[in-house]
C-alpha cells in the first residue's frame, strides 16, 4: 500500500465499504441480519447500505439466528452470495448446527458438488461490561472445523481487504470483527484491493522476540513493544489475519530470526487459538527456540460484568510485558 493515495477510515467504515463495493460488483451478493437495514445495525456498521441497495438486498430479519444462517447456507448453495450478520459472536451458538454441520461440510459431503459461498460476519471482544453472554471471543470454535475459513482482521485496511476476499470466496467464511475497534481508524488506499487469505502481516519488525497476535491484541502488543524497546527488547509482531488458512511460513520465518515466541489471542486461553499456534511453532521451529513458547489468552472464566473484575480477565499490555521479560530472565 505504498505508492497510492490513502484515506483514513474507521474499522466500521471498512466493513461498509467492502460490502458496498462487492454488492455493486455482483448482484448475487446480499446482506441479512437483525437490524442491519433501516437502523444500520446495532453498532451502526451497515449505515447507508439500506438506502443504496434497498430492502431486497439489505434484509432486516427476525431474531432467528438459526434460520437466517441456515437460509444463508441454502441461498449460497443455489447461486446467491449471502453475507449474514450475527450481531454478537456469542449468538453464533444458536446457529452452530447450520454453520458446523451444514455449511462447513456441504462441499465435502457432496463429493464436491455443492459450494457454499457464504460469509458470516460476527463480533468478538470484551471490555464494555457487557457480561458473560455478550463478550466472548469464540473464534477457536470455528477455526476447529474443517471446511470453514476464519478471518480475524486487526485494522481497517485488513478488514476491508479480507472481507472482500471472503465475499468472493466460494467457501463458507467467518469474519470476526472486534466490536471494541469499530471506531478505530486506519489508512486504506483509494483504489480497490483485496487481501489473499493465508497471508500474515508483520505489523512491526524486531529481532529479539516474535509475538503472534490477533485482532485488538495486535494493538495491545504494539503498545507493549514500544515499552519493551525502552528496556532493550526488540519485538516483532506478526498478525496472521486469517486463522484458517494460517500462514505458518511467515510465523516460522520470524521465530527463526528471533528465537523466542509468544502467542496472544482474546479467546479463552484453554484449548484456544494460542495453543494451536504455539504447538505449531514448537514443532516446526524447535531447533531455533531459546525459550519455551508462551501463550496469553483470556482468563478461563465467563466474562464478568463488574468493572472491578472484567479487566482482570482480558489480556493486557502488562501481561505481555511480563511474559516477554520472563523469556529473557536467565540471560
Amino acid at each position: 500500500m505504498s505508492t497510492s493515495n490513502h484515506r483514513e477510515i474507521t474499522y466500521a467504515e471498512a466493513v461498509r465499504e467492502a460490502i458496498r463495493e462487492e454488492m455493486r460488483r455482483d448482484d448475487h451478493v446480499f446482506l441479512m441480519g437483525e437490524d442491519v437495514g433501516a437502523a444500520g445495525g446495532v453498532f451502526k456498521v451497515t449505515t447507508g447500505l439500506y438506502q443504496e441497495f434497498g430492502p431486497e438486498r439489505i434484509r432486516d430479519t427476525p431474531i432467528s439466528e438459526a434460520a437466517i444462517v441456515g437460509a444463508g447456507v441454502g441461498a449460497a448453495m443455489t447461486g446467491m452470495r449471502p453475507i449474514v450478520e450475527v450481531m454478537f459472536g456469542d449468538f453464533i451458538t444458536i446457529a452452530m448446527d447450520q454453520i458446523v454441520n451444514q455449511a462447513a461440510k456441504m462441499c465435502y459431503m457432496t463429493g464436491g458438488q455443492a459450494k457454499v459461498p457464504l460469509v458470516v460476519r460476527t463480533t468478538l471482544g470484551a471490555g464494555r461490561s457487557s457480561a458473560a453472554q455478550h463478550s466472548q471471543s469464540l473464534q477457536a470454535w470455528l477455526a476447529h472445523i474443517p471446511g470453514l475459513k476464519v478471518a480475524i482482521p486487526s485494522t481497517p485496511y485488513d478488514l476491508k481487504g479480507l472481507l472482500k476476499t471472503a465475499i468472493r470466496d466460494d467457501n463458507p467464511v467467518i469474519v470476526y470483527e472486534d466490536k471494541m475497534m469499530y471506531n478505530t481508524k486506519g489508512l486504506v488506499p483509494d483504489e480497490e484491493y483485496t487481501i489473499p487469505f493465508g497471508t500474515a502481516d508483520v505489523k512491526r519488525e524486531g529481532k529479539d522476540v516474535t509475538i503472534v497476535a490477533t485482532s485488538s491484541m495486535v494493538h495491545t502488543v504494539l503498545n507493549a513493544a514500544t515499552k519493551l524497546e525502552q528496556d532493550g527488547i526488540s519485538v516483532e509482531v506478526v498478525d496472521p489475519r486469517t486463522l484458517v488458512p494460517l500462514d505458518m511460513a511467515t510465523i516460522i520465518a520470524s521465530v527463526e530470526k528471533t528465537s523466542r515466541a509468544v502467542v496472544i489471542d482474546e479467546g479463552y486461553q484453554r484449548f484456544g487459538i494460542t495453543a494451536e499456534i504455539a504447538s505449531l511453532i514448537a514443532d516446526e521451529a524447535f531447533d531455533y527456540l531459546d525459550a519455551p513458547v508462551k501463550r496469553i489468552g483470556a482468563m478461563d472464566v465467563p466474562v464478568p460484568f463488574s468493572p472491578g473484575l472484567e479487566p482482570l480477565t482480558i489480556p493486557n499490555e502488562e501481561r505481555v510485558i511480563h511474559t516477554v521479560k520472563g523469556l529473557f530472565r536467565d540471560e
Binding site: E34, D35, A38, A39, V42, D60, T61, P62, I63, S64, E65, A66, A67, D90, F91, I94, R128, S129, S130, A131, A132, Q133, H134, M299, D300, V301, P302, P304, F305, S306, P307, G308, L309, L312, T313
Partner: protein
Amino acid sequence: MATTVTVKKPVQVASKATRLTIPDDLCLEMHRRMVTIRRFEEAVWEVYTQGLMRGLAHLYIGEEATAVGVCAALRTDDYITSTHRGHGHLIAKGGRVDRMMAEMLGKVDGYNRGKGGTMHIADLSLGILGANGIVGGGMGLATGAALSAKMRGTDQVAVCFFGDGAANQGVFLEAANLAAVWKLPVLFVCENNQYGEYTAAKHVTAIHEHIAERAAAFDIPGLVVDGNDVVAVYEATKEMVDRARAGEGPSLIECKTYRYRGHHVGDGNPEKTYRTQEETDAWKAKDPIARFQRRLIEAGLATEADLAAWDGEIQQQIQEAVEFAKQSPYPPASEVTDHVYV
C-alpha cells in the same frame, strides 16, 4: 389473506373489567410494585447517564402492568425466567431494589456479586431463575423448571417472560411443543411491546393479528390481554396458573404493551427514527400506572394524597438503594475465579 390453519381454540380477548374484583391489599401491593419499577428504572437512567453504570440498560418503563399483573398471580415458590429487559420482572417477583441497584453498578453487594450486571440478575430464593442476555434464552429454562415441578410432585408453576422478538426464535416452537406434549405447568408470557430493537414486530412476525394465535398450533390456550391493564393481566394469568397447577398444561398469554424509552439507554430518541411520536403518545395515554391509580381512587382505595405519599416513600427507598449501591465496593480481584464451578 386467508389462513389455511383451523384455529381450534380461538384467541380470547380478556374482558376489560371496570370494577376491581380482586382483594384490596393485593391491589395496593400491585400498585406499589408498579410505581417501584418505574422509579427504579428512572434511577437506572440517572446512574447510567451519570456514567456510574456501564454495559447496556434496557428499561421497562411503560410495561409495568405486565410484570406486576403476572407475578401477582404467582407464589414465591413459583418460577420465572426473565429477559434482557428484566428489572421489572425482578421487582414484580419480590426482588430487592438495593441489591439490584448494586448489581447494576457491578458491586459486591449486588445479587450476583457483580458478576452478572443488569442482564443477568437472579434470586433463586424467590424463584427468579435469572434475567437473560440471549433473546429466547429463558424458554427452555422455564419449560425445564415446569418439568422439574411436575417430576418432584409439587404444584409450582413456571412463567417464561419473552418479547415479541423472541417469539421468532426456533426454541419457542421447541419449548412450547415440549411443554404441550408433556402437559407442563408453564405459562409463556409474551410481552408484545411492538418492537424488537429498532424493528417493528409487524415487519418480521408472521401472524394474522396476534402472537397468541400461535398457541393454536400447540393446541394450548392462547390469550390476548391489554398488557397496560394490571387487573386484566392478573386475571388472565390467575386463570392460566390455576389451570397449570391442576395439571392441565401450558398456555400462551400475549400482553400488548409498549416501552416508552428506547431499546436501551443509548437508544435515545426512537421517535426520530423507527417509530412515531403519535404512536408513543397514544400508548402513553394508556399509561398502566395512571390508569390503575384512577381505578384505585374510584374504588375508594386511595386518595391523591395517598398516592403522592406512597410515591415519596418509594422514591426515598430507591434513593437509598442508589446510595447503598454507590457505597458498596467492587468485588475483590480474588473473586474473579470464584463460581466458575460450584
